[in-house]
């Protein structure tokens, strides 16, 4: 039930854009996105709900394609503070739990 993320790692220069993808083999009701800095706990960024309602972060956006069971996280004009590992979490509706992908390590360099 673990979703698949791509790419596994990406290196950007400040100001560049990146897209992180998350896909599932199961029907999804919601998708979560979290960022984890090295040695710290994951921190919530955004949740996307079936039907299109979106919540979350101001400077990072995301999409959710229910039919394709996919979500994408868009980071535009990246900043050094964007560095970290990004995880998507998925659940199929009516479940009490969340399954996370293996993560995408994002490094932003000056």
């Amino acid at each position: 039930q673990q979703p698949v993320q791509s790419p596994q790692a990406v290196i950007l220069r400040e100001g560049e854009d990146a897209v992180i993808n998350c896909s599932s083999s199961k029907a999804l009701y919601s998708v979560h996105w979290y960022r984890q800095k090295h040695g710290e706990a994951p921190v919530f960024l955004m949740i996307l709900l079936k039907g299109g309602e979106q919540k979350g972060h101001e400077k990072i956006s995301a999409s959710f394609n229910e039919k394709k069971q996919q979500s994408s996280l868009y980071l535009t004009a990246s900043q050094l503070s964007y560095s970290g590992t990004y995880f998507c979490g998925t659940e199929g509706g009516g479940a009490n739990n969340l399954f996370f992908g293996t993560g995408t390590r994002l490094t932003v360099i000056p």
């Binding site: 673990q2 710290e40 994951p42 919530f44 995880f87 659940e91 399954f99 996370f100 992908g101």
Partner: protein, 114 residues
Amino acid sequence: DAGITQSPRHKVTETGTPVTLRCHQTENHRYMYWYRQDPGHGLRLIHYSYGVKDTDKGEVSDGYSVSRSKTEDFLLTLESATSSQTSVYFCAISPAEPSYEKLFFGSGTQLSVL
């Protein structure tokens, strides 16, 4: 920041010994989760709870048990620790099911089984 505390923060133990990790919250949230994090595997769900004495297994529950006798405490027990259980363990809490609400994570417990 959400009031969630994990203890201990670091532990070294020997193979075959029982180990208990504690997660304590002051938010009165209904849902609590235990995840383990390993390189190449991301965060994997061990067990979760959706209320006092209501628990269920996650994807990697073998060798682990949990208990929740109070809203604020969720205990994870490794019945007989093995080296494969060396990992970083994160507790998370949420006020409602993850269809609608985000998870708040604790700072983690680094467990080493020698």
